[in-house]
Symmetry: D2
Subunit: 335 residues, 4 copies
C-alpha cells in the first residue's frame, strides 16, 4: 500500500505560509510528484526565493499557469479566494480539491457535504472524526487551526453525549496563524514578549466547532466560550477546555484512549504537556485532569501542520488510499 | 507632602528577584535612604555583583547583619521564610514590616488584620481596596501577583454585589514570577517559544482572591475558575475574566471608572490593550467588553512591580504619608 | 541647579519610536514642560492612542501645528526629513534644535560644527566627547545608535593615539533600531529566534565613527571593520571590538576609568556583562579583556535611550545647564 | 543501495540533548533499528518521559545495560566521559563507535587518525572534507558545532592555499549548544531577549578548526580570531568570517560551488540568508560577499543537527554505505 504510487499534485497560492509548509511536506513525500506551484505574485521565481529554507530541496519555480493533468489540487489561498477560484476555473471533475481556506467548511451539518454551484461536493476533513467519509470524498474542506485543536479536545465527549454543561476554553496561538501579511500585531517589536487576547467569546471558529460537535452529539450542545490569545512564538496552538463532568479521571481517560485508538496522530499524555512536544509535527497531544467537579482537557497542535498543511496531506493520504502517515513522520523541533 | 522626608529602609532577602526589583526602585526613590540590604548568601558583595544592572546606581553591599534603626523593613524572602524571620527576630515594634511573601496574607476575612503571636498585626496591602486601612497599618502583607491582577479586575463588581454568576479566568505569567531558582520550566531551551498551563483550576492565589472579594460583597461568592499559563516572556501578567452580566458595557465602564477614580495606577483602556503597555511600570490596565450576555474584563500588570515590589513601595508611600506615586513614575519599556 | 527650572519643549515626529521614547522620558522629567507633540499622521489623537503605554501618564494630543514659543525642539523624523523640515520652516534662532536623524551629523571633522544654509550650526552631541562644546551649542546632531556604542568603546584609545592597528567590530541590534515601519525583517514570524547579518563591512555609521575618532587621534586612523547583526530582541545594542595592543589589561582599564571618570552614564564592568544590564537605561557599559596580543572591548547601550532619545535628553540637560542625569535616573528592566 | 538494509544501533547517553536529537532522527531512519538507549539516570523510563515530543513515535525505554550485538554505537555523553567509557568497556572491535564528544577529535593532524590505547582508531567525521576516509573508518570523532560552521565556511579557501591573511570570525549560538544542565546563562529570565559574548578570541573549537585547515592548506595558517555570542534562541549557529582576498566574488563563488558540488547538505545562497533557513535540517548554508578588499563568508547550521546528531547520522550513513541523506530529508521548521 503506497509503494511505488505517485500522485501528481498542484498547489495554488504557493507563496503564502500554508503553501510553503505544504511544499516542505510534499518535496519529501514518498508518493507525491509536485506538478506545479501556482502563484500570481511570484511567477517565474524559484520556489526557494520565497521559501528560502527550501534551497537544496527543490528546483521548482512558481508558475502563473495551471496544469490540468493533476490528481489533486491544494488551494492555499485566502478566505474567500478559494470560492472565487473554483467559480472562475472549470476544473475537470477528476481533480480532487483540498481547500485550506474556510470557504467550504460551512454547511448546516457535519453530516452533509458542502456542494458548490458547479456540483463539486466538499467533505469536512477532520480525519479523526470523518476518516471513512474522507476516503470516499471528492473534495476536502480542511479544518481551521483553533477548530482542530478544540474539536480534538471535545470529540470523545460529544460522541457519548457528555457535552452537557457549558464549556470554557482558552487558547494561545503562534504568529504564523495570522499569515505573512504585515500588520501592527505581526511587528516583531510589538509581539516579542507580549501577549494579548482578541475576539474574546467571539472567534469565527466557534461556528465550525459547534456545527461539528452538534453533528456528533444527540443532546443539544451547551454554550462554548472561547478566549483566544496571541502568543509570542511562531508555531503552535495550546488550548485548555473545562466543563463540569461526573466522570472520574480514569473513566474519561479510557474513553479518550478508546476514541483515538486507531488514529496515529493523536496521543493522550500521562504527564503534564507543553506546546513544543508537538511543534513541527502533525501530532495532536491531549492531557486530561480532574479538578473537583471539572474535567480539564489540554490539547495542542502545530497550527501550520495538524492545523493546516499537515492535515491537508493527511487528508490527501486518505483520499488516495495511501498510508495515513505517509510523508508525515516528521522530526519535531522539540526546542 | 513628601518634600525633604527621608525614610530609612532595610531589605531582607535582597539577592532575589523581588529584592532586586525593590532596590531598583528605592535607589531612585526621592524619600528613601536604604540603610542595609541583607542577604546571607551574598554578604560582603556589592549589590551590583548580583543585580548587575545596578552598577553605576549604588555602591551598597549586601550584609548579613540587621540594623535596628530603620523605619521600614521589606521582607523579600520565600514563602514560609518570612514567618520564620519574624519569629526568630525580636524586631522593635516601631519598625513597620512590608512582607512580600504569602505568609501573612491568610486570615479569615479581609476585614480583619492578621496578628502574629508576638502581637504584630498585618493589613492586606491592596491599596485600591484598602488605602485607608494601609495608611493606619502597622505592617503590610503585600498581595500576590496573579491575585492582584484578578482582584483589580473584579473589585468594582464585588463592591456592588454583582459577582452573581460563576467567573472564568485565564491568565498568562512571565518567567520572573517563578523567581531565580533553576528548574526545568525556567530553562531557556524549554521555555523559549513554549506555552503550558499549570495548576488548572487549582492555583493557590484563588483563596486569597476569594477571601478579598467575599469581604467586599455581601452575596455569597460564586465559583471562580482560573487557568494559569506559563508564557515565553519574562515580565508581566495578563488575565481575562468573564461572567454573565446584565449590565451594559457603558454601565460597567462607568462603575469601573468611578471605582478607580482616585487610584493613580489603575486605568481603563478604551482600545484593545496588550501586556507591554504596563511592563516596567506600577500600572494596572483594565479593558472591558460585552459579548452577548457576558462581561469580559482584561487586566494586566507587571508581576514584579504592581504584582510585587512596586506595590510594596506604593504601600510604603501610604504607610508614611508620602505621595502615593513617589518613586513610581516609571518609564515603561514599551517594547 | 535645575530646581524649579522648566524648559518648554516641542517634539516633531512624535508618533515614531524615538518620538515615543522621548515622550516617555519627558513626561516624567522634572524640568520640562511639553508644549506640543507634532505629527501629521496622528494629529488630533491623544498621544496614548499611539504610544499606548502612556495612558495614565499624559493627556497630551498630537497636533499638526507648531508653536513658536518653545526653547527646545526635538526632531524625531526620518533621515532626510530633518533637513527638509529645517529648510521649510523659518524657526526663530532662539529655539535650540536637537535632531535625532543623521542629517546634521556629517561634516568634515568633529572639530567643526555643521552649518545649515540658514546659518544654524549643529554640534555633534556625544556628551562623553563633547560635553563642553554641547553646553555652548546652538543645536545638536544626536549620534547614531551603533555609532554611540562603538565610539564609546574606542574613544579612550583614540584620545591617546592608541588606535594604531586595524579594529574589528561585531555588534547585534534589537528590532526597534529599525523603527516602526512594517517590513519582511520586522515580521515577528521571521525575526523571532532568528539571526542575520546585514551591511557587513559596509554600515553607514562607519563614516560617523571614523570622523569622530580621527578628530580625536592625531595618528592616521586604521581600518575599522564592522559586522552588524539583527538580533531577536527589541531593545539594545551589544558590540565587541578588538585590536592588537601593547597595553596590559590593567593599563587599559585605568585609561578607560580615567577617561570616563566624570561621565555618569558610562561604567566599566569588572565582571562579564550582558545586554540586559543596560536595557531601559541611559547607561553605556564597557568591559575589557586582554587575550594574548589583543585588547577586547565589549560595549552595550539601549539603542532607544543612550542610542537615541535618552542621549537627546542628556544633550538637552547640558544645553540648558541642568544636571546631566535629570530625568534619566531610569529603572532598568533587568529582565 | 540502502533498500532493506537495517543497521542495529545503540545509544549511550540517550537522556541528553544530543541523545534526544539522535533518537528523533533514528526512530524515522529507514535503515536503522535502535537496539537500546542507555542512560544511567533514566533507566527503566520510557524514552518519551524524557524526550516528551517522542510520545507516539517510539515505545523504547532507557536501559542501564549495554547490548553487544549492535553494529554502531553512538556516544552522546559529555566531554571526557566518552574516553572513560571506551576505557571502561571492552567493546567488540566490530562495533563502530561514533563519538559526539570532543574526546577523540584531538590529534596532531587531520591526516592521521586518533588511536586509543586499546587500538581503536578514530577518524574526524567532517564528511565534506573526509568522505572517503569516513567510508573506510572504524570509528568516528564527530566535529564540534561551531567548528563545523566555521570549517565549512573556510575549507574551499584552505583547499587552494588561499587562507593567506588573518581571518576574523563572529558567531552566535542558540541555547541548546550548552546542553540541558541548569545554569545562570540557561535561565529563561536571563537569556530571553539578551545577548552576551564569551570566550572572546579564546574558544576551545579554535584548535579543532586550525588543525583541520592546516591539514588541508600547505601554507602556514594565519591567525583565526573568533568572537562567539550566546543568542536568545534555542537552535542554530550563524557565523560571519572575513579576510583580505584578491579573488572577485564570481571567482570565489565558483570555487565554493565546485568544492561542495558533490555534497548534498551544503548550499551556496545567492540571496541574503538568515539562520532559520537551516533550523531543524542537516543543511549548511553559505553566502559570499565581497566588500572592498575583503571576502565575507556567512555560514549557518543547526547546532543539534549538522553540528551534532545530524552529522553523526550522516557519518553513520557513510560508514555503512547507505545513501548519505538517508533519514536526513528533514522538514525545516522555517519559523
Amino acid at each position: 500500500m503506497g509503494d511505488g504510487v505517485s500522485i501528481k499534485a498542484g498547489i495554488v497560492g504557493g507563496a503564502g505560509y500554508t503553501g510553503g509548509e505544504l511544499l516542505r511536506l510534499l518535496v519529501h513525500h514518498p508518493n507525491v510528484e509536485i506538478a506545479f506551484v501556482h502563484s500570481n505574485s511570484q511567477a517565474g521565481k524559484p520556489v526557494y526565493d520565497v521559501h528560502k529554507d527550501l534551497l537544496g530541496d527543490t528546483e521548482l519555480s512558481f508558475t502563473d499557469s495551471l496544469q490540468p493533468d493533476v490528481e489533486v489540487l491544494f488551494l492555499c489561498v485566502g478566505h474567500g479566494e478559494a470560492k472565487k477560484f473554483i467559480e472562475a476555473h472549470d476544473l475537470p471533475q477528476h481533480i480532487k480539491v483540498i481547500d485550506l481556506s474556510q470557504d467550504f467548511r460551512w454547511n448546516e451539518s457535519i453530516n452533509e457535504a458542502t456542494v458548490t454551484e458547479a456540483g463539486r461536493t466538499f467533505v469536512y476533513g477532520l480525519p479523526e472524526l470523518q476518516r471513512n467519509a474522507i476516503k470516499e470524498a471528492e473534495n476536502i474542506a480542511n479544518p481551521g487551526c483553533f477548530a482542530t485543536a478544540i474539536q480534538l479536545a471535545l470529540l470523545p465527549l460529544a460522541a457519548e453525549n457528555l457535552l452537557t454543561d457549558e464549556v470554557h476554553v482558552s487558547g494561545i496561538t503562534g504568529s504564523t496563524g495570522a499569515g505573512q501579511s504585515l500588520s501592527a500585531t505581526s511587528h516583531y517589536s510589538w509581539r516579542s514578549s507580549n501577549i494579548s487576547n482578541y475576539k474574546a467569546l467571539n472567534h469565527q471558529h466557534l461556528n465550525e466547532i459547534r456545527r461539528t460537535l452538534q453533528g456528533l452529539q444527540e443532546e443539544k450542545l451547551p454554550e462554548i466560550n472561547f478566549v483566544p490569545y496571541r502568543g509570542p512564538f511562531t508555531r503552535g496552538i495550546l488550548c485548555t477546555s473545562y466543563l463540569r463532568s461526573n466522570q472520574s479521571l480514569a473513566e474519561a481517560t479510557n474513553k479518550y484512549k478508546a476514541f483515538y485508538k486507531e488514529h496515529p496522530f493523536v496521543s493522550i499524555s500521562s504527564t503534564t504537556p507543553d506546546l513544543k512536544q508537538v511543534v513541527n509535527t502533525n501530532k495532536c497531544l491531549l492531557y486530561l485532569e480532574k479538578q473537583d467537579k471539572n474535567l480539564v482537557i489540554t490539547s495542542m497542535i502545530d497550527n501550520l501542520l495538524k492545523g493546516a498543511s499537515g492535515q491537508a496531506v493527511q487528508n490527501m493520504n486518505l483520499l488516495f488510499n495511501l498510508p495515513e502517515k505517509a510523508g508525515l513522520n516528521l522530526k519535531g523541533s522539540a526546542f
